[in-house]
Symmetry: D2
Subunit: 419 residues, 4 copies
């Protein structure tokens, strides 16, 4: 069983043998012994997250994905375990290291990228945004409830016509014609994880008076009828275990006190995204590790041609080896960036690099591993097809792979090539 | 509107401009002018198939895929148009060339691989098997009704424990203890397209007396209760617009007259598979062409960064060009093999080559094209995700890609490397 | 032994068994039976070329490549066999089909891409240019001697600062200040195959008066000392069996009668390049086929681990199969374009497509095949390293692969993305 | 200027700005700030090695590679700087960490893989073997002179018929018929780096009496005429700046005291190889970094199409980004394994993983970067072609990539698939 992170104590460490790397014998579960880079506390946090995810989330995911049925209790449970906003100091948050938060993302996405997405939105995009840019009053109002999973958040940046290019957003906040210190916000946001169930929405809009992008915390409960709609987007090809929707604002009145006080322009949302992207780099490695585990098991159990297990075939072994190598490398890279983040030395390009590479490699390898299942991979019970579909989405969101290529290309050459 | 193939006449040719290649101007819809290799009749058949597929099938596919809802009327309609068993001479079949049957598969799979799969099973696996190996009585009994889509067929070869290695099958036919000239067949077949709706099942089983594989035509209507079950397999990751199930036989009595008279061993099912694989090589090119078409349209319409269409980006253009090239090459290869088939000069390794390569390239390119849609690709309304999921299945069935590698490797080196 | 093409007669056909595809048995030497698409005459020409290349060129290539030692007699011998300017009608040329000329390129490059390059320059770039754009007098003066290999040609387009973008060339032709109907040409051309040994150079320069690009035939013998230098470029990484140099013109006087009469702008050189690119698409397939042959032989002969030949390893078989498939597909595509060329229906984009794809696939597969040789591949005696190095150059010249991507991307989307 | 490692002092640190990562600004020269993982001493050693390599080796490499002309003074100079056997404690060796030795390999291979190969043989294979398995007398006799580069070593394991499978070696040591405590060794070793110039050869042979593999130190000076030949292997496709040859032993008398005292079987040579492979994993990253540097510079300087630098093209930027990412990841992985080695916790499979992956990625990316040079890449002056050719060899030696796949596949699945 798992114990809430806030009650953690190094006395209670009971690390599973699964993750130990104490000998000099090769351990395919940790091929480059990255566990040696984590503190005992970080490993304990990972173990707590792993126990919760395997015991409580895993049994629900097949149905959740099949029927696009997100259980909002999952965020509440995560809150109880202490997984939400885990790097934030105070406000009822666990205050753990960036590595520990990465290990949490890895464990959650080992189950499903959709569950990790729901958590990332809550933790990195909304709570992180409030923690970094909010007023003290905003923090006090939202963070404790969000940490517990009692208040759910959504992050409204992407618009129907502006995905990779949010600077061109059309959502606008203009002064309320009658109510002092109020804005009326109008516009449409799409592909918003958690929007249908969110209690508070961090919406980015251009202030009409300045043309500058500002962040607004919109409480669903405070919106007059007809000013806020958050319709579901159903029938998704991936991330079906998360809930996704739109945020449609039609002259929605929002008090000035709900605006972030000073952050202006793209720096605000990009800072939030940066933190979420870091979590994706970790999470996708967890999904890939699960694919390896499932494919390895299948290859050992499935026998063809004179009773040989598939694992005896060179073409099968190569797929496993390629995947394991990329997972091991990806974990090391994410670990390095995590340490640098805590020292304030991780520029956004580093995060572009690991987000892009880990998503790309997780996807490419998961697809090769799926081949091992042959015709059986079409059954959703093997789980590998779900990971493949999810990982494709991770490659496209929060900076599609090619966009991160151009961000990095600009950093290398000094020349931008976006258009 | 389309006209049934049996009433076709070259007088009525009304080829759409879409497929013409009469000038020396580059036409991205037919980049290497493969249409010049087809006869007027073949082009007319393609046009008929295209019209039916686009007008009648396309509007149904989104729902069919979403809800795994196969409409058996589709096979009936195909029968009306003359698309079923199209290469068979007589018995109410159209008697067209192998190229024409390939063009039909291309048009059907341009809509959906699942629809093409349902047709392939009917046409290549069952009707083709009966035509090649059946008695005259068997042909008379089944082919005309199957050609019309009134009798639906399924093909039972793969078993739960024997996918790539059907020679190890466990389904057995033993003499009926009491009924003369009857067998009792027991065993289990899985991943059987059309099995839940099939009227007749071509089941391969080992004759207990000889240990040799033989083919049996099992009429659902003649099976006593409890001897035949064909449960659906739901919640598939791909090919959701086709229906798939098992065939479970428990001492099912089958008269000797329903056994193929002389074909023995794997040659029977492999001959049927060969014909189906040929169709897959064509069909997957149709699916890829549809992906190109959809991605190109999206790239021209979607604007980012100062209003530039995505089509202006080098990284996007390269994806389109790679895909178009592989589609053009794949069509030429399938055309060549089709002509050779009609001359009796297409050994199975040729078909392994084009099945493997066209499935692999269709899948790889469809995945790259899907990236062009960015986050929007997660919506099933763009269709590209459906093709990607389907094409993965085509790569794994009727000879997984690696298995065909080893078949071809053996042909090149003279050495088998299966285990 | 081989017989000159001009004396060819279908009575003398003696096709080697190597290339026959008369049965329905799979023949790895012609996996998709492309030979059935060639006429008896075309096959006879291929056989003649094959015999010459294998008997006379192959024994010389190892030394030629090692020491960058091009034997100009090779072009003379090619002339005797009838391989030069083979598609040209009259002027002592063989007047064969585009397919036949492609088969010649395939046989020459089966030995070495450098030898094929030397031939392409002579045949496609210079003789082809004269035949298409020259005056009758120019044709009479050059073509018969060039067909015999007595007069060697070079093609001067690329400049040190203008590779992919020849429209920006700096070489200029201005009126001679004193000699009537003479130009003075100045400028520098680089990476010019055959330039150090060429007797006549087809140089593209901008006419000072119009700024338009025009073609000039420059006779080395007629150039006053100091006005023409053609220094060797040595120490190349590839194509070492061909000779490459610069063309440096310093106020070189050229009579107006040596200018092509009417062709203006990039259309002239691009038409020549088009024809050469078509030959490259064929030639690289010959090189790839030779790599397959060498790798297969090595894999069958080399034994490791309990005496098993390498050919028994799945990872080795897959490399052979991938390569063989791409070679077979590439031959079919080149054949299709060749037939269309003879009908005047092959737009340049088609040639971009097969040039790009066949170079790319030949290179990628040759590299994978080279891995089969393990450490031994470092020895130049196995020949595979030479092909790999050569094929990389073919990918970069006459339109680098990415440039052809953008040419095709423009054709598909209508949008140019060069910069 | 550089200072010998033995005289190093942390007081004298003068780290170049090139490698500093002190700020939170992205530095393409160290994209994931791996330098923060190294100690000041390790960075100082790297800087010393860098200075020597750039100042003294780089100016010689073009000619050395062109003419296959290895200057044995280079090893002597390396000895003076302290680069040889650098991890060995005592015997005049520098006694540095495994990380520091990796950084040395990275700096040497930044210039040329051949130079690093020569150093690896001396340091890892021969000195490392003596240090780990030799008698105290053997260590005293060889190590100090080898550390200075006065005694050169070669490592004789691979035989003409036994590359990936050294356990089948045929070289044999039988008792001398007349001389007490002497063996007569006969056999042939090939692809032996440094053999033509080596003073001492560590040769692995089977002891006739036991059939077990043992290691022998053979002094060239002590071999009677006709018993030892070390012919050059010339005309290599890569690693031309190193010298390679055979070791041919014909009843060569070797005293028993020159045999390693207790190590038996493949464990001996595999331990040496393990250490060398670790160095390759570092070295290839240096070569890749040099390719990136050269390609980036070229892309910024080379202008095409309206004066845009190549660096502005998306297709060019992507090649740079992919390469930079793999280099950064590879450095982190090598660093992790280096630290574990010093703790005695790096099993051979870890080294298989980083040797395989870093060689594969270095090669694949170097090839893509070479495309940026277009036609100019054929000139050896740009250096990129040399790296590409070298890196291919590193992929094939000391365990070809596929062999390491199978080693790792066995570790993951517990099943060996070598044959």
């Amino acid at each position: 069983m798992y114990r809430p992170l806030l009650q953690r104590s190094s006395k209670h460490l009971n690390l599973s043998r699964r993750y130990s790397s104490n000998s000099s014998v090769f351990n395919w579960l940790d091929p480059l012994a990255s566990n040696k880079l984590f503190t005992q506390e970080e490993l304990a946090i990972q173990e707590t997250a792993n126990a919760y995810c395997q015991e409580r989330m895993l049994p629900r995911v097949l149905d959740a994905y099949r029927y696009e049925n997100y259980d909002r209790k999952i965020l509440e449970e995560m809150g109880e375990v202490g997984l939400l906003g885990a790097t934030i100091k105070g406000y009822g948050c666990a205050g753990v290291s960036s590595i520990a938060s990465g290990l949490i993302a890895r464990e959650v996405e080992r189950v499903d990228s959709g569950y990790r997405s729901g958590m990332s939105v809550q933790s990195s995009l909304v709570m992180g945004g409030i923690d970094k840019f909010g007023t003290e009053e905003q923090k006090d109002r939202y963070l404790p409830g969000m940490a517990k999973g009692k208040i759910l958040g959504a992050f409204g940046l992407t618009e129907p016509n502006h995905g990779s290019d949010p600077g061109s957003m059309e959502t606008v906040a203009k002064p309320h014609p009658s109510k002092k210190d109020y804005f009326l916000i109008s516009g449409s946001k799409t592909w918003i994880t958690n929007s249908p169930i969110a209690d508070v929405m961090l919406v980015w809009a251009k202030l009409q008076s300045t043309g500058k992008i500002r962040g607004f915390l919109i409480d669903r409960a405070a919106c007059p009828p007809g000013t806020l709609e958050t319709p579901d987007i159903k029938n998704k090809n991936g991330l079906r275990a998360s809930t996704t929707g739109m945020i449609q604002l039609d002259e929605c009145p929002v008090p000035k006190e709900n605006m972030f006080p000073s952050i202006e322009g793209l720096k605000g949302p990009f800072t939030c995204l940066n933190s979420a992207r870091y979590g994706i780099a970790w999470g996708t490695m967890g999904a890939l590790e699960d694919c390896i585990d499932r494919a390895r098991t299948y290859a050992l159990e499935r026998k063809q041609f004179k009773g040989n297990p598939l694992a005896k075939y060179q073409l099968v072994q190569k797929k496993l080896v390629d995947a394991l190598t990329d997972a091991a490398y990806g974990i090391l890279a994410a670990t390095q960036v995590g340490r640098l983040m805590d020292e304030g030395r991780a520029p956004p390009e580093m995060i572009s690099m690991i987000k892009r590479q880990n998503c790309d490699r997780a996807l490419a390898n998961a697809r090769k591993l799926q081949e091992i299942f042959g015709g059986n991979s079409v059954s959703d019970e093997y789980g590998i097809g779900r990971h493949v579909a999810n990982l494709f989405v991770t490659q496209t969101y929060e900076g599609q792979s090619d966009i991160h290529s151009l961000i990095l290309g600009r950093a290398i050459t000094g020349i931008q090539a976006f258009a």
